[in-house]
Symmetry: D3
Subunit: 190 residues, 6 copies
């Protein structure tokens, strides 16, 4: 972990020494990603907070789902664009570029997902995610029905709802704490 | 668990038979609360989803914090009012009435938190939570500084940010899945 | 009149002595409701203001109409929820609970009318009232036509429009003057 | 009454024959204004509705007040501009032109009240009226205090709140019923 | 040029002496319009700025187009109403009154274009212009298709888009610089 | 000009043969930029439209100004982010990366300009541009005064207003016509 910049605007230094579990986890990140994502470093002041956050993230973004990992990242970016979250747009914009192999798709989702040439299924998925983000008060059965009509199962709808919800949480935590993305993301997969 | 109504609008029946861990957890709920909250029943189709969600909830709402449990529930209600989340307003409105012993406070937070006669610290806390909910894009250092000026530590700000984020997730999952609160909440602690 | 708290944040004491007509009116309220609603006490500094306000209220809410009294109260609550009016949500939320005998319905209308299991006629009525409240600029013939299609007459539409208008007035007067609801409302008809 | 166009988009013909009281009232309008305002013709299907509406209008707009009649008309126009109410902008825009003798002032209030060269007192009055119109949820003691600081009494604040409320009602009734202003207003006092 | 009031709130005096080209241009305005529009006087501090602005204006508003000059002015007013631009509403409201010979139409477009009795083609044109003004982010092929269905060619759509864009520029320049319309506009063509 | 994709969603083919002036202009673009920007190709159906648009663009973005070229591009990006304009964010995001030599700055302005570490002068410039973009109705002398207080002259304010206005036009023309940015922009200056 060579990047020593504080991961947020809060004065919450990591545990010292880092507990063994965290040390191992961060080591794996460094090996696989070439960095420890700042959202993890931000939680390093409390082991249970890091663990519960990571467990939910892993379940939602990496667990079994009718949504591909790319589709979950697409939701992450479309939601984060509504919320203007610098951290999540940088990190998950890079993930979309990587998983899709289509850098332009990443840019479109960051800038205005409506211009992306999506099929009806993915477009309905992002329309739902964006409506849930901007106006969850107004979601009704008709909105779920539109997802079913393009082929999503009720289990898929659960996953869309939860990934959308998760980034509405993460975006707000990132903005509220002044979280900064690792510089590495900006040039990746261009 | 006598209430057999589906907890959401999705067709996601609980595991059958219920795994031992879940059965035990739901039994404890039934004993302590007189019901199994529908948000838990909604997760009963997948054990890891229930566990990761519950673990984060417990860490944020029941773990150590400079915020009292009542204050965390007050944030839950103020956030849920912005998002018009029936489930969370019913459940956490009841929690505010219970923990505060002040039914009127619960009603005020549901209806318009600005009318509640709060001290400067709690008012700043809810103003921050509501701004993060409505316009996290616009949060800046000056907003965090206002929390510090009424006595919150940076660790407290982390907790305010995360509780606020959590209900922005839960509200959206509840609305997007059509989650309904247990009827018991409505008459409690009036 | 035992509740001596000021009904608003304004320094506008009641006429002293209270004119005979007012005294009689307030006595009837006390007998029938167990209180004098603060919106009436707030007008007690000027007899003609009290009378003209009350007369319009009585005509709209209690006069002949194709809308039931409960339906008019449902409009009152749905409109007041948009405007976040503590006074009107407390008072008319209680009225919905009383007239419907369904406390959950009152909570739903306070929290998010879209979750209430209404028939098409009442749902269209509240959708119209909420659109008129949030965006009267955009109301057109097509909106009126939707009311006619679920069975409302043009006279009914007049009444929906006027009840909706009335609470858009009352909500604003209440919020602008800092009007507080009588405490009695909160626990009623739960 | 020579103008026979229906005053609203609703099929609510006037009482036939017109009751004596209404006939007299409309005759006075015709003599003094050269027309019967369509808002009165719209109520002509029900005598009590006309009377209660007119009584409140007269009390608020013509009764004793620390606000001049012009100031009350200025509020009417500034509020109606927010709500895009064609009826009220036409009718009360003409009233501002007439009472002020300053046609440009009427245009400014219709188009954007912020460009009008008002003194601090009148500007604060319209700022309050516009905030109450757009976001009454957010009105607090600090808003009332700003009115007091430019010289308004608590009784004046009551009147500002009630005139503002009244046009938030009238604007919505006019838009919801498709009320059209008499053609005479457009060219008056230019 | 007898009106010597500054055309904006900025201290940007005209070139002195006025270059011959400007002098000629302003002379023509004075002869044909009885005034030099303040938007031109505002540019008089820099000849190239005046020329490039005027050239684009003339091309869009006076050049060949499938839209009549009145239709382009109607767009100007509908857009300016959304943006609350006093300068453009005064100037182009007068133009609509002049070109249409229908003063009421001008008032309707200033106050709420939805009340104007337009044919389907012109209504679609203004709906598109207003959506582009308020929410250009959300414009998609379906919006263009609605214009084609009422008879507009793709070249017409280009012109609608560009006139709409032009007033979204001009409205903002006028408001941002405090530009004031010439007094002459207010009473014209009533 | 090797890229043969249509520059917009409209069927407006370029003049054939391309007039000599356009041919020369596009040749220069090709030589200097390695492409002909699609916004120019989109105008290639009409020589006067291309010329008047280009002349205004060149005057505002390349002419003499107290604002550096980078600052004008920063305004372009901050405005385009509010309007979600894919074309302008891609093209001017690349320009900010190029002129600043700071790819992260470009990303910040695209994603949320508030996170960029700007000095007070540039921050005030972008705050003004964003307010003019979102709410030009509300701009008043106090907003201009804030620009003067960080050192901008009235001539600078003119330029900020006009560059801001220009992109509010261009964003809307691009979105309304379905304009697509040249693919080259996405990977440039990363």
């Amino acid at each position: 972990m060579t990047d020593q910049t504080a991961p947020t605007a809060l004065d919450l230094p990591p545990l010292e020494p880092l507990p063994a579990g965290m040390q191992k986890y961060f080591g794996i990140c460094q090996d696989k990603l070439g960095m420890v994502p700042n959202v993890l470093r931000a939680h390093a002041f409390d082991e249970n907070k890091l663990n519960t956050f990571s467990a939910l993230y892993n379940e939602l973004m990496l667990g079994d789902s009718g949504l591909s990992k790319l589709e979950r990242e697409m939701i992450a970016v479309a939601v984060s664009a509504v919320n203007g979250c610098f951290y999540c747009l940088a990190a998950h914009g890079a993930a979309v570029r990587q998983l899709s192999g289509d850098p332009k798709l990443g840019e479109m989702l960051v800038m205005n997902y409506r211009v992306a040439p999506l099929d009806a299924r993915q477009r309905a998925m992002l329309d739902f995610a964006v409506k849930v983000t901007k106006a969850s008060t107004e979601i009704e059965e008709a909105d779920r029905e539109m997802l079913r009509q393009v082929g999503f199962s009720d289990r898929d709808i659960w996953d869309i709802a939860n990934v959308t919800g998760f980034y509405n949480m993460s975006n707000r935590v990132a903005s509220a704490t002044g979280m900064v993305p690792n510089d590495e993301y900006h040039a990746q997969f261009r």
